[in-house]
Each structure stands twice: as C-alpha cells, then as structure tokens.
C-alpha cells in the first residue's frame, strides 16, 4: 500500500490530518509550541476589533505564515449576513479564499443554524470563497452544503468546547459514506482517543482547539492529538478486522502437547 497519504483542500496539498485552533492558550509561546507539536498545517483564527488600548503582540505574531495556512472563522456570528461581513473583512486582511463558516444558532449549545449556514455557504461560494462549514452531524445538511459547492463539511462531534467526544459515530459514518467531499470533524474532541475514533471512521481530518488548549499540558496534548490522528488514519487505511461475538484463538489448535 502506498505510503503517500496526502489530501487536498483547494490549492493546498496536505500531509497533516489535524487542523487546530489558536484560542484559549495561556500565552503566545504556548500557542506557538502547541501548533508545532500538533503538526498542523492549517490553523484557525477569529476576527475581532483591534484592542486600541494594548500594544501587546497578537496571535499573528505567534503564527509563521510560511508554515501555516490561516483559516479565518466566523465564530460569534448568528446570521448569514454577519458571517459574510466577517469574511469580507478577513479577505481584506489578506487571506486566501479558504474560510471556516460558522453561523451559530444558540449561545448555550453553540449548535449551528444549519439553514442559515447553507444560505451563507451558497452566497460565499458565488463570491469565490472556498467554504468549510461547521454544521450538525446531519447527513441532509451535509448534502445541502455539498450541493452549495462547499469544499468540505465539518460536522460537530459534540458541542464546541465540551470535550464530550464523538457522540454519534453512526451519523458521522453515514455522512462520510454519502457525501463526495472531505468530512472534517469539528468540535467536541476531548482527548486523543476521540480524534483516533474520528479518523478510524474515515474522516479526512479533525479540527480542534479546546481539546488541546484546555488540557493540563497543552503542548503534550497537541503531540498526543497528532499521534492519534495519524494512528486513526493508518487504522482506517489498514481496514480493521471484523468484529466477532466469540473468541477465535490466535495460537494453533493443532499440536498441543498431551
């Protein structure tokens, strides 16, 4: 089997199977170290008002643009209009066309407004954006997003920042089997095994932030997540053995001493 296992997103050919967020770290040094340990090639950023009272370095100072593709998000947007407005500003900041679209439907769960997300995706695709939408783990929504021309779909595993893991692996599998674009699990991954499960299901990649930044030792967790994504991906490609209800001895049954 080929050792070459790259994937593509627009004009980018990628080796890494992990996309990481840049929020919630204790310092920019920790951000930098965690990004490096994760092996990510794409990192997400948010767009906010410039803090006019601070001259401190910003997250952009921690991200080497030669090493990482920046993926601007629309976190905090509750309407299609707000999300599109945010991405126009991101484009003005010199981003390429790749964007993470999220249109939130409710502040408590941060569940996506799938209807508004599909609407925003259609409009953004028309404007030339390459859209990666955060959405529910719902096949029909994912199909609509594929039809809208999205580059990938990013169903949640569990609520953003919850660390609850893959709540409905069956839904994720159905999405993978029934859409023709990459499926990237976004949100809810809490520890390495969650990432491995997502990859074993056949996800193309996993996007996470709090799963790393919220660990006691974020840099170590970033490495664990990288290894888990790699392990899960390799296990998926290897094709797991069939599950059986009863034992099947590994050692020969013939030739036992009497």
């Amino acid at each position: 089997m080929s050792t070459n296992d790259t994937w593509t997103l627009g004009k980018h050919t990628l080796t890494s199977r992990i996309i990481v967020g840049t929020g919630k770290y204790a310092s920019l040094d920790e951000t930098r170290a965690a990004l490096a340990a994760s092996g990510a090639e794409i990192v997400t950023v948010a767009l906010r008002r410039v803090d006019l009272s601070s001259k401190e370095p910003t997250v952009l100072d921690a991200i080497d643009r030669k090493k990482y593709v920046l993926l601007p998000n629309t976190a905090g947007c509750y309407t299609a209009d707000d999300a599109i407005r945010t991405l126009h500003l991101a484009r003005e900041l010199g981003m390429d066309e790749l964007v993470k679209l999220e249109v939130i439907g409710d502040p408590k769960t941060l569940f996506p407004d799938n209807t508004a997300t599909v609407e925003a995706a259609k409009r953004l695709v028309k404007e030339g954006f390459q859209v990666l939408p955060y959405c529910s783990d719902d096949l029909i929504t994912c199909k609509r997003l594929e039809e809208a021309g999205c580059l990938a779909v990013m169903p949640l595993a569990a609520p953003i920042g919850s660390g609850l893991g893959i709540r409905n692996p069956h839904n994720i599998r159905l999405i993978i089997e029934n859409v023709g674009i990459p499926v990237i699990v976004d949100a809810g991954v809490g520890t390495a095994s969650d990432a491995a499960i997502a990859m074993e299901l056949g996800c193309t990649a996993v996007l996470m932030n709090t799963g790393i930044a919220g660990a006691k030792h974020p840099v170590l967790m970033a490495e664990a997540m990288r290894l888990a994504c790699d392990a899960g991906r390799k296990a998926f490609r290897a094709g797991r053995m069939p599950r059986k209800d009863y034992a099947n001895a590994s050692s020969p049954t013939a030739g036992l001493i009497e």
Binding site: L52, L60, M208
Partner: protein, 72 residues
C-alpha cells in the same frame, strides 16, 4: 463640515473627534496602527487598504478596525 473644525466619528464603538479631512490612513497612524495588519470597515463597507490614503472620514461615520485573534 469640511476643511476646518472637527468631525465626530465612532471607532470600534467609542466616540472620537478628529480634524476635518482626516483620512483612514491618518487615523490608523494616529492610533499607532500604521504598520499593523488591520482591516477597516466604514458604515459596514470595507475600505480596501489601497484606498486608505484617499478616503476622508465624515461626521457620523462608524468605523470598525479589526484584526485576527486566537480562535477555534
């Protein structure tokens, strides 16, 4: 009002008085953002960087100056 006096604008939600004729570029320099990567929106329309030096602000303008921050 133009050519003399002051204009009143809102910058990132806060009121600010500026000399009439102030351009977007001049405002960014005054705020210490001349060298920074900042996107500017005036009254909900993006002002491309190439137009910062030629875009004069007017009383009542609402400006959003934004940049990237850490996020997921």
């Amino acid at each position: 009002m133009s050519g003399s006096g002051l204009i009143d604008v809102i910058v990132n939600g806060a009121p600010k008085s500026l000399p009439a004729g102030t351009t977007v570029a001049a405002l960014l320099i005054e705020l210490g953002l001349g060298e920074k990567r900042v996107a500017v929106e005036r009254n909900r329309e993006v002002i491309p960087r190439a137009q910062h030096a030629t875009t004069q602000l007017a009383t009542g303008d609402r400006l959003e100056l934004v940049t990237f921050v850490g996020g997921g």
